[in-house]
Amino acid sequence: MCPRITLYSILFILFFGYTGIIYTSATHFENSALTKDSSEYRGRLVFQQHNCVACHQIYGLGGHLGPDLTNVVSNPRKGEAYARAIIRGGASPMPKFNLTDTELDDLIAFLKQADSSGESPPINFKITPWGSIEVQHGNPGKT
């Protein structure tokens, strides 16, 4: 076979293999929220429907006008009650959101799922000699 075709074939095989691994086993984090009726799943939809990511981040990914929310529910200075209050009442520049009780509960369940999956920013990360990092998996002891 022509070397060019071989090269491109290898590239695509690697891509599909790697993609398969990413889709199935790239994380140790497993949870029971895999159905559409779970509170966590509905909560992430509420998060998307109000475009919270325009201002907030999860794992440092998102907007910059508000704080990262990955660990807000276990933040010693904030916590779940604080999160509930601020989502209900707003705090300029954060608008006030008129959510139903269920929507708010779902949103908190989603934030708890985020919190239990890891830390952001990873405070306990270790820097390796070649400049990489070791990120903590899961937050044992948290919800």
Binding site: A26, H28, Y41, R44, V53, A54
Partner: protein, 472 residues
Amino acid sequence: MKSVYKLFAITAILCLLGGLLLGLVAGTQFLFPEVLVDVIPFQSVRPLHVSLGIWWIFLGASSAVYFFIDALVDDSEVPINKEWVNSASCRRLALAHYALWVLSGFGIAYCYLNGIFGGKEYLNYPPPLSIPLAVGWICFACNLVKSVGGLKSAWPAFMWMWFTSCAVFLVAFAEAHLWTLPWFGGNIVRDVTVQWKSYGSLVAAWNMLLYGTATCLMYFLNRDPKMLRGRMVFTLYFLGLVNSLFNWGHHTYTVPTIHWVREISYFVSMLELYILWRIIATWSRGWDTCKSLRCFKSYRFLMAVDVWVVLNLILAIALSVPAINVFAHGTHIIVAHSMGTTVGINSMILLAALHYMVQDKVPAFASSDCRIFKTAFYLLNIALLVFWCALIGAGIEKALILSADPYQSYRLVLLAIRPYIMTVVGAGIVLLVCFFSILIPLLLKFIIPANSTQTAGGAWGEQSEPSAVNAV
């Protein structure tokens, strides 16, 4: 396709003008949250600003692709299916592409303005609106394949870049919607990882579209056959492809995936350096051989691209190192990176192409020897540099505060970065004025028929065919 490219170009320029204005609104709201909040709140401004910027890139690049395919019809070096390119079906397919994109664009803008969201970051609109966008891409890809006379002919590298860009885009775009399936959407780590895997490929796909356009433009500027099938352009193509398939991991360094995903990403990110270095090396050699082109606006923009590639390269190197990335992540340094590449590289390539496209019809407009243009051009680049540095400054400030105390009140963080954001907004206003003074004349050249705008004299007199550059 004779005039369809104009539709794309005009709409692209309008999107950029709108995007710039909304960028200013977003920046102002960052400092003064009450400004226009009842008219258009921040959570609507941000996605609309970003979308308009992305639409500018895609519509502008499509315009350039259609234009260049048309312009290549009589070029013996490039296999073009003349019959197809001159046919009504080709034009209809391009029009369908345009109509589908504009339709979904209006739909998306309507949703954002009315607070209707539902998707993920950057694709915040309700997911069904993605369908016409994807179908538009399919029309574009089919048109490309047909225009080059099928897969059997020897395509130049830029054709491969354009076509690969379409293919990668479609796959990555589908992937970006996997969150709608509970297997992905229900597991936050898998969800974020797959989301950013797809976004990495989407960005690489549009870069490939633009690098293809830049290579094609270089061919038109200096008629160097190496730009078509040279070893170097194909090496760049290959590395661009590797980049689009694997180089997404630096977005997810901090996400708790299994460890080796991070290491693979680190390694692949480093390949990016090679790609960018080659781009600079080839292009700067190219510059030496065609200094005589300096009097063209297109050429000036391509020179600016060179500078911005170098600056963004340095930032990209830094951000690809996980130990640095972890501090910079979630700060305005990432915004500097995206602004530097979309404005400094992508937009400059497009401006070069669009100026080339009108100069074919209005040669006098090609000359960069016009005081308003020169002033706007230099000021634009200086303002962009200030803008870029101020964003990096804001990022470093935030990183320093949060690494000293990760639980620091966010109000204090916002207060500390305020002077930087003020500089960003100030530089943004200058950017806006410069862009307007470059874009409005360009827009008029696309809107008003060529013979009514052509000025006598000027650098190229009244010569209109062949193009001014070919005459050099």
